[in-house]
C-alpha cells in the first residue's frame, strides 16, 4: 500500500455566475502518492487550476472529501505556485521570494542562505533587486516558483510553472525541479499543457476531461520504461487524449490550442 499525500474522494465543485450554477467538476477522484510527481493535463478551462486551489486548501469542495497525508488538512503541508505569477509589486524579487519566510508558519524553513540559494538555482540572482514590473514573463514565473520552494512544504502544486520559458531554460528548470524533488522527497503536482513536459516530469500522468471535468485516466508512465524512454507511454496518453477529443460531442468548446499542443508535441523522450 503506497502512502497517499493527497486524496480527493467524490469531489464536486461549482461556480455561480449570476443566477446560473456552473459545475467545474463532478465526481472527481484523485490520489497523489507520497514522493511522486503527478503531471496533470487537460483542456483549457476544465478545472485544473481550480483543483489545485482546492488541494492547497484555498477553496473548499462543495461535496466530497480532501485528505492530506491521510487526514483532514490542518497544518500547512501543501504549497502552491499560481498560474499567474502573483508577485507583490512593492517588493523586489528577493523580498518576494523571502515573503513566505516572514510568516510564522514557515519558521522552520528560515535559514540564512535559503533565499539566495534558490535565486541562484533559478538563475534569478541578476534580478534579485528588481521589482516585478521590471521582470520578463519567464523571470516572474521563476520568482513565483522560487517563492514557493523556499517555504519547504512537502507537497508542492505548480500551475504551468514553465509555460513562458525558452526551451533551453525550460529543460534546465525541469531537471532542477526533478533534482529538488528527489533530494527533498517532495510530492509534486504539475499542471502543464505540454505533453512532452508531462511525460518528462511525471511519474504518472493524469488527464482531466472537459466540463464538467473529471479525471478519466491516470497513466503510470514510469512503469512504461522510466524517464529516458517514454515514447510508448506517450503514445498511449496521446491516443487517449485524441480519442477523447474526437468523441467530444461539442468540439467547438475545445480551444484549438489544445489540439495544436497535441499535434505539435514531440513524443516522450
Amino acid at each position: 500500500m503506497v502512502a497517499l499525500a493527497l486524496r480527493v474522494t467524490d469531489g464536486q465543485r461549482a461556480y455561480h455566475r449570476g443566477a446560473t450554477r456552473q459545475p467545474v467538476f463532478t465526481d472527481l477522484n484523485l490520489e497523489v502518492r507520497t514522493g511522486e510527481v503527478l503531471a496533470l493535463l487537460g483542456p483549457s478551462g476544465c478545472g485544473k487550476s481550480t483543483l489545485l486551489r482546492i488541494l492547497a486548501g484555498l477553496e473548499s469542495l462543495d461535496h466530497g472529501r480532501l485528505e492530506v497525508f491521510g487526514a483532514r488538512p490542518s497544518a500547512p503541508k501543501v504549497g502552491i505556485a499560481f498560474q499567474q505569477p502573483s508577485l507583490l509589486p512593492w517588493l523586489t524579487v528577493a523580498q518576494n521570494v523571502a515573503l513566505g519566510l516572514r510568516f510564522a508558519a514557515n519558521r522552520a524553513a528560515r535559514t540564512p542562505d535559503a533565499v539566495s540559494r534558490v535565486l541562484d538555482e533559478l538563475r534569478l540572482e541578476s534580478v534579485a533587486d528588481a521589482y516585478p514590473a521590471e521582470l520578463s514573463g519567464g523571470q516572474a514565473q521563476r520568482a513565483n516558483v522560487a517563492r514557493l520552494v523556499v517555504t519547504g512544504r512537502p507537497i508542492l502544486l505548480l500551475d504551468e510553472p514553465f509555460a513562458a520559458l525558452d526551451p533551453g531554460t525550460r529543460e534546465a528548470l525541469q531537471d532542477w525541479l526533478l533534482d529538488l524533488q528527489r533530494a527533498r522527497g517532495l510530492t509534486l503536482v504539475v499542471v502543464t499543457h505540454d505533453l512532452s513536459e508531462a511525460l518528462h516530469l511525471g511519474d504518472r500522468v493524469a488527464v482531466m476531461s472537459g466540463i464538467p471535468g473529471t479525471i478519466r485516466r491516470v497513466w503510470d508512465v514510469r512503469s512504461h520504461g522510466g524517464r529516458t524512454d517514454r515514447s510508448e507511454a506517450g503514445e498511449a496518453v496521446r491516443r487517449h487524449i485524441l480519442s477523447q477529443y474526437d468523441a467530444d460531442p461539442r468540439p467547438a468548446d475545445r480551444p484549438t490550442t489544445w489540439a495544436d499542443t497535441l499535434s505539435d508535441s514531440p513524443q516522450g523522450r
Binding site: L58, P76, S86, R102, N106, T151
Partner: protein, 303 residues
C-alpha cells in the same frame, strides 16, 4: 544631484522674477500716494525681517501650525477608518459613497456658522473646519486603496500560510499605503487653505487673525509680510508632505507599480533600482475637491 541643484536654481529664478513683476506693478501701475502703494515688496520684506525678529509673527505661525496638526489628526482619525470601511464593505460603499461624494463637494468654509454654533469661539471651530476639509480626501483615497487591493495578493499570503495579522501587516497595509499617503498629502494642502480664512473668525492668534489685525491697524506692510509667510509655510509643508508621504520606494527604478495612480516619477529607468529620484513636488493646495490621487509638480512638465 546636479539636476537637483539646477531645479532649485530654477525655482529661485522663478521667485525672483515674480518678485520683480510685483515690484514693477506697484512702482509703475499704482499711484505712489495711494493705499496700494503700501503693498510694495521692498517694504514687506523689510517688515517681515523685523517681525520675525520680534517673534510675534512666529508665535502666530506656531498657533496656525498647531491647528493644522490638530485638524489633520482628527481628519485622519475619522477618514482612515471611514475609508477602510467604505473600501471593504460593498453595502457601505453603495450607501455611503454618494453621501461622501456630496460632503466633499461642499466648501469647508460653508460649515462656519455650524462650527460656531457647535464649538463657540476659539481653537475648536477652526480645527473643526480644517478637519471638515481634510477628512474626505483621506477617506476617499483610503477607500480607493482598499478597493484596488488585488485579491490575488491576499491569496498568495494565505497560500504561504500567513495569519490574518501577518496578511494585514505585510500585504494589506503596504498595498493601500500609497493611496493613503496620497490622501494625506492632498488633505494637508486643503487644510492649509482652509486654515487662514477659518482663523479670521473669532480667534486672537494665527496667521489669518494676524492678517485681519494688520488690516484694522492699517499696517499693510505687515499684512503682506503675513501673506509671504503663509505662502512660504504652505510651500514648505507641501514639500515636507512630499518627503514624508511621497512613497519613494514605490517609484524606485523609475517605474511605479500602480499604473495611472502614481506620483510623478523621476527619469531613472531600469536596473539597478536605486535612483530614488522622486519629483513628486509642487503644490497640491487646490481648494478642496481634488480627491483623485494626483501629484507631481503643480505645473505639469512637458516631456
Amino acid at each position: 544631484m546636479r539636476a537637483g541643484a539646477r531645479r532649485v536654481g530654477a525655482a529661485f529664478v522663478g521667485l525672483g522674477v515674480a518678485l520683480l513683476i510685483w515690484w514693477a506693478a506697484i512702482r509703475f501701475l499704482v499711484p505712489p500716494t495711494g493705499i496700494l502703494a503700501r503693498f510694495a515688496p521692498d517694504d514687506a520684506i523689510a517688515t517681515l525681517v523685523r517681525l520675525l525678529g520680534e517673534g510675534d509673527l512666529v508665535a502666530h505661525a506656531v498657533a496656525s501650525l498647531r491647528r493644522i496638526a490638530a485638524g489633520l489628526l482628527v481628519a485622519a482619525a475619522v477618514g482612515i477608518p471611514l475609508g477602510l470601511t467604505l473600501g471593504s464593505i460593498r453595502l457601505v460603499a453603495r450607501t455611503g459613497g454618494p453621501v461622501l461624494g456630496l460632503l466633499r463637494m461642499i466648501s469647508p468654509l460653508s460649515w462656519t456658522p455650524i462650527a460656531i454654533i457647535l464649538f463657540g469661539v476659539g481653537d475648536s471651530p477652526v480645527v473643526f473646519l480644517v478637519a471638515m476639509g481634510a477628512t474626505w480626501p483621506i477617506a476617499v483615497n483610503t477607500a480607493a486603496g482598499v478597493a484596488h487591493l488585488d485579491p490575488t495578493w491576499l491569496r498568495v499570503a494565505r497560500s504561504l500560510g500567513a495569519t490574518r495579522r501577518e496578511a494585514l501587516r505585510l500585504v494589506v497595509w503596504p498595498g493601500i499605503r500609497p493611496d493613503l499617503l496620497t490622501g494625506l498629502r492632498i488633505a494637508t494642502g486643503i487644510a492649509w487653505v482652509v486654515l487662514v480664512p477659518a482663523e479670521m473668525l473669532g480667534v486672537d492668534s494665527g496667521l489669518g487673525y494676524f492678517i485681519l489685525d494688520s488690516r484694522d491697524r492699517f499696517a499693510y506692510d505687515e499684512l503682506v509680510a503675513a501673506i509671504l509667510v503663509i505662502g512660504s509655510l504652505g510651500l514648505a509643508i507641501d514639500g515636507l508632505a512630499c518627503f514624508l508621504f511621497g512613497n519613494r520606494r514605490r517609484t524606485v527604478g523609475g517605474r511605479s507599480w500602480f499604473r495611472g495612480r502614481s506620483l510623478q516619477v523621476g527619469s531613472g529607468r531600469g536596473l539597478p533600482a536605486r535612483t530614488g529620484q522622486v519629483t513628486a513636488g509642487g503644490g497640491l493646495t487646490g481648494p478642496g475637491v481634488a480627491t483623485t490621487p494626483s501629484g507631481g509638480p503643480a505645473v505639469p512638465e512637458p516631456r
